[in-house]
């Protein structure tokens, strides 16, 4: 008698979960199906089975002179990789500075970073664009990754990780052995921080890969454009004249690499979300 209500609840739970799973996956399923179909097939309506034009669509997108996809992928990769590397290294460095040393401004510095933890960069976009114009960095990739040196959310994650996994005795032991402070950080602290850095590198890479607002204001030169800007330019072009196979293919190129990496590393990423609690 006791078990019955629990049984009904389990069934309801599974039904809801299956509906949500369907919602999450269905759109990407259509995306991949349509990326493999010919323009005329797509116009005719929806199909559950993939078409045969996948390679053809891919070739068409890659050689389209109006949307420089190859350089777009390259630019996106450069910016995202550098952002990820810079954000994780400098956040670990900052976190270590505040964790391992005692100095007068330690507490104010920590409070300051915590106060700006979730401050959006959009509020200072106007001054930012002005400044990089003066610094002759407009239309270059530098302004897209250099600000990652100051990533408060990544810092907070690193700091929390140090509290739980970096015994200060280890640092003291290194000092006694005559290891310099920078060397201690690079040779002893960084290897211990590897799990935290890997998780944060993934998040930093993805958010930079997906970033649209600032890059769209900084970049106007076709050869410097990143993938989100290319997608936006596709939207503002006369949509009806477009080969829909190409449109779906470009979206696939922007999304699928991230999904593949995510599925491969999902265990660590999901655990990282639960730990971090802080996302931009």
């Amino acid at each position: 008698m006791e078990k019955k209500p629990s049984h009904v609840r389990t069934v309801i739970a599974y039904i809801v979960l299956i509906i949500l799973t369907f919602l999450c996956l269905f759109f990407f399923y259509i995306l991949i199906i349509n990326a493999s179909r010919h323009h005329s097939e797509i116009q005719k309506g929806f199909s559950f089975l993939p078409g045969t034009a996948f390679v053809r669509n891919l070739k068409n997108v890659l050689k389209d002179a109006n949307i420089p996809v190859v350089s777009g992928i390259k630019n996106s990769l450069i910016v995202s990789s550098l952002s990820a590397a810079i954000a994780t290294y400098f956040s670990a460095l900052t976190a270590y500075g505040l964790y391992a040393y005692n100095f007068k401004l330690k507490k104010p510095a920590f409070i300051f970073i915590m106060l700006i933890l979730v401050m959006p960069t959009q509020v200072s976009a106007l001054g930012f664009i002005n400044l990089i114009t003066k610094m002759k960095m407009l239309n270059t990739l530098y302004p897209l990754f250099l600000p990652s040196i100051a990533a408060p959310a990544v810092f907070y994650f690193m700091y929390s990780y140090m509290q739980s996994s970096l015994p200060i005795e280890l640092v003291e032991a290194a000092r006694i052995d005559g290891c310099g402070e920078f060397r201690t950080f690079n040779r002893i602290v960084l290897p211990i921080m590897k799990p935290a850095m890997a998780v944060q590198a993934i998040f930093a890479f993805v958010s930079s890969w997906n970033n649209f607002f600032i890059p769209a204001l900084v970049i106007s030169d076709n050869s410097k454009k990143t993938l989100p800007i290319l997608i936006a330019s596709l939207r503002s072009a006369d949509f009806l004249k477009f080969d829909m196979g190409k449109v779906y293919m470009l979206i696939t190129i922007a999304i699928v690499p991230i999904i593949i990496v995510y599925i491969a590393l999902s265990k660590y990423i999901v655990a990282g979300v639960a730990l971090g609690g802080v996302k931009e």
């Binding site: 510095a109 933890l117 509020v123 449109v247």
Partner: protein, 315 residues
Amino acid sequence: MDKGKKIKDVSYAKYGYFFIAPFFIAFLIFQLIPLGQTIYYSFFEYYRSGLKIIGPNPVGFANYQALVESGFLKYAGNTIIMWLIGFVPQIIVSLILAAWFTDVRLRIKGKQFFKVVIYMPNLIMASAFAMLFFALFSDNGPVNSTLISLGILHQPFRFLSTVWGTRGLVGLMNFLMWFGNTTILLMAAVMGINPALFEAAELDGCSPRQTFFKITLPMIRPILVYVLITSMIGGLQMFDVPQILTNAQGSPNRSTMTLIMFLNNHLYSKNYGMAGAVSVILFIVCAILCLLVYFTLNADDGMSHGKKKKKARRA
């Protein structure tokens, strides 16, 4: 001996400054100085008219006054409405899922699979996701053609020409992108509750509903507050999805124009005075929300801060 140690301590302090210097220098250059300049420009008439640049002329609060007249309040309203359409179902679904996933009596199998699936949309490029929705929900797109061929509709429903169709799509996308993230956060919070509480509740014959409202919900309140505030900040930044979905028009009839889209338009047309005024208002709202986040995190982290102090003293 003691003296020698003290000198050593002092010499270590400078490394602290070395290590945190890059962060603060980068923050100063890329955020703080730009923020100062943004605030400064908000008090100037400074825009481009054709090829001519007007200003900068100091105008006091005229830009702020002009904001209200140019629809700022309407765009703020749009942003809040679209945020709510996404957030309300998001928090309800996430709470239910978090309760189910952590309920030992339910024994849901494949938890890891479901977590992986529901978090996935969060990593998708928002602009590509919006482009995908635009293609799928266009008048002759797959969604309409499917609904017609199933006999549910007789003619295409023009999602992107109706106010609530477009707002609904934006809300749906925000919901899909964020409910997995919220679920995982809330689950972590529920799992942090002392299991003895749930056991005691079960022994006392609490129904799942009672357990949820009397134990789970009050215990995870700090995280709920955190989720609410960060989601509000995220909502204020809403840009990519409506920008791409409506091609920067906020169509139909500017009913999906968000505050950041409005800011973007001014930045694009190089009206720095107005862009500054929008930014300053956004900054003030965000600063209040940042303060709230600071206090919730500190209240929540009481224990780890104690730990930190102990360790710092030892160092």
